[in-house]
């Protein structure tokens, strides 16, 4: 066990290094000169060279990479000239909002997928099944930023059911004291139910927009797995013991159907991460995603580079976690 954890860790480390190197390379072969961006188009060659010197751009690329990673690990993520702030500070400010949105989106995707997959496979009901499959195909085929727009048009603009873009909380309310820095949780901790409800309302539309793609993916996977597992003889044997349909499904079919889904959770995380860049922009959500879009438009690449590396690290970390979890859940892998 110890051995396998160690080997997995070293594998993850290698993947992170590889990924960050690729990210670094791509951002450094960029035609524009980062120093030129800082000093501005009107600066003289001398100023430019001085700036390049300061930034270490004359060094060989691997030295630059080494230096960048060393700084990165020690907390120096570079300086965002667009926002006039260190990149790390910006991340710290905006990360909680993104995480909260991601969590709610995942909860939505997961719950909706489980319920609909169960409904689709219950008995032999072709219409229900076809509906769920259609939903899944639409979920996977809809551009998240477009869905966000539709949701806003319908539920905010036309029906007025949910608040519009631009905030996590109505201006009339004061944010609860920061504990976890996740608004809904902090509101609960502070016991302010009204604040919680308001923050939750603000979360509904963006969470659905962000969760739709993972939902489509999950429901499709779960439905197929449930159908497969249901054809396994062991379900018949369970039923022959007298266990009812739902008990057999929840106790035996679902856990087995979840196993292959677990492997896909890396993919789902990636969808959430990529989607947040798009959805946050539409809702003007004060998270990392909208920061990244703004930085791209401002050509503020220090932020983008940090985001890419953080994404890769998180992604590798999640995948490693899933591997471990798989070993815990599936006795056959434990060996």
């Amino acid at each position: 066990m110890v051995h396998s954890i160690l080997s997995r860790l070293s594998g993850s480390l290698a993947a992170i290094i590889g990924a960050s190197a690729i990210a670094f390379l791509f951002l450094r072969v960029l035609p524009g000169n980062p120093a030129r961006l800082i000093v501005g188009p009107l600066a003289s060659e001398e100023t430019l060279h001085a700036q390049m010197e300061r930034m270490g751009l004359h060094e060989p690329i691997y030295v630059q990479y080494w230096r960048y990673m060393r700084d990165f690990v020690t907390g120096d993520w570079g300086f965002s000239y667009g926002a006039g702030q260190p990149v790390l500070v910006q991340f710290q400010l905006r990360f909680p909002a993104s995480i909260e949105l991601g969590i709610y989106a995942f909860i939505f995707a997961f719950l909706a997928a489980v319920v609909l997959a169960l409904l689709a496979t219950y008995r032999h009901r072709p219409v229900m099944d076809a509906t769920v499959r259609m939903l899944s195909i639409f979920g996977m085929g809809m551009p998240p930023f477009w869905l966000a727009l539709i949701l806003l048009v319908v539920f905010h603009e036309a029906l007025g059911m949910f608040p519009g873009p631009g905030a996590q909380l109505s201006r009339a309310l004061t944010p609860p004291p920061e504990v976890t820095r996740l608004l809904t949780i902090d509101a609960l901790i502070a016991g302010e139910l009204r604040t919680f409800a308001n923050a939750f309302q603000h979360l509904v539309l963006p969470a659905i927009a962000l969760g739709m793609l993972p939902f489509g993916y999950l429901v499709r996977l779960l439905r197929a797995n449930l159908l497969d597992v249901r054809n396994e003889p062991f379900i018949l044997v369970v039923r022959s013991k007298g266990i009812g349909y739902w008990a057999a499904t929840v106790r035996h079919a679902l856990p087995n159907a979840f196993l292959p889904t677990l492997t896909a959770s890396g993919m789902i995380f990636a969808q959430l991460l990529g989607g947040s860049v798009l959805v946050e922009k539409v809702f003007n959500w004060p998270g990392i995603g909208s920061l990244v879009v703004d930085s791209i438009l401002r050509k503020d690449f220090a932020v983008v580079q940090a985001f890419i590396i953080v994404s890769a690290v998180l992604y590798v970390f999640i995948n490693g976690l899933v591997d471990l979890l798989y070993g815990i859940i599936d006795p056959r892998v434990r060996g």
Binding site: F138, G141, I150, L273, V277, A312, Y315
Partner: protein, 274 residues
């Protein structure tokens, strides 16, 4: 049986319709997608403008057709090049094995260690934006998916009894690959290609949306949605909604097609007994 054919024909029809709009749009709707008309800004859909006009009076329908051309072209190009490159890597990796296999797969892993959209962003940022770079970035992120799938397929097929039967009757490696392995990976490749077509089209739109793909004023669907964003909440919904439907239709149709292809291409499927 009936229903499944309905699915199939509907999605074929949708794809065909989009293709017709993309290719023949300029013929039967000869309106310049870039022509600005300040007298006709922000008009709702009507006979003169089936999808309305945008804030500077450009005809959305003409722009939609142009966007279809961009999306479908990029989708096809990305899928074909990705499938060829990825399929080749997978085939070589699965057949040669050993050190080369290991090296190729580690490289694929490194690419996979990125969330795909983020990597496409990185590449596009790095190479300076634009349609071609965006397509290249998307293609690059799709290669490992083909490569890994085809590799594992090749390894699985190599061990199947009918391949062993061919080896036992003296077939050489070339014959085994060409006659027995490749035909059996084609269905996998096709299904994966259809799935990745959807991804490519969506990714291109996403890159356009964040300002990395095609540049304004080129009417790409993602860019059009971005432009429509600020008018959506003031009542001019048509600017951003129609291109979204285009994306949804293209992606959903290919994904239904992929499912059907998977069923039809499995020779066992047709003879499944009770």
């Amino acid at each position: 049986m009936l229903r499944s054919n309905f699915d199939l024909s509907l999605s074929l029809f949708v794809l065909l319709l989009l293709a017709v709009l993309a290719l023949l749009g300029p013929v039967f709707w000869p309106v310049d997608p870039l022509a600005i008309s300040l007298r006709e800004t922000l008009q709702a859909p009507s006979l003169a403008h089936p999808m309305g006009t945008d804030h500077i009076g450009r005809d959305i329908f003409a722009r939609f057709n142009y966007g279809a051309k961009i999306s479908l072209t990029v989708g096809i190009v990305v899928v074909v090049t990705g499938a060829v490159v990825g399929g080749a890597i997978g085939l070589v990796s699965g057949i040669v094995g050993g050190l080369l296999d290991n090296a190729l797969m580690r490289f694929m892993d490194a690419i996979l260690a990125f969330p795909p959209l983020i990597l496409a962003m990185a590449v596009t940022v790095g190479l300076g934006g634009g349609l071609e770079t965006a397509a290249l970035g998307i293609m690059l992120t799709s290669v490992p998916y083909y490569a890994r799938l085809i590799r594992s397929d090749v390894i699985r097929i190599r061990r199947l009894p009918f391949v062993e039967a061919a080896v036992a009757s003296g077939a050489g490696i070339t014959r085994i690959i060409v006659r027995h392995i490749i035909p059996h990976t084609v269905s996998t490749l096709l299904v994966q290609a259809a799935a990745l077509f959807g991804y490519s089209v969506l990714a291109l739109a996403a890159l356009g949306f964040v300002g990395l793909g095609t540049q304004v004023p080129t009417p790409e669907w993602g860019v059009m949605i971005t432009e429509g964003l600020q008018y959506a909440l003031t009542g001019q919904w048509w600017i951003g909604v129609f291109p979204g439907f285009g994306l949804l239709a293209a992606v959903a149709a290919t994904s239904i097609l992929a499912d059907k292809a998977r069923d039809l291409l499995d020779p066992r499927g047709q003879y499944t007994q009770l």
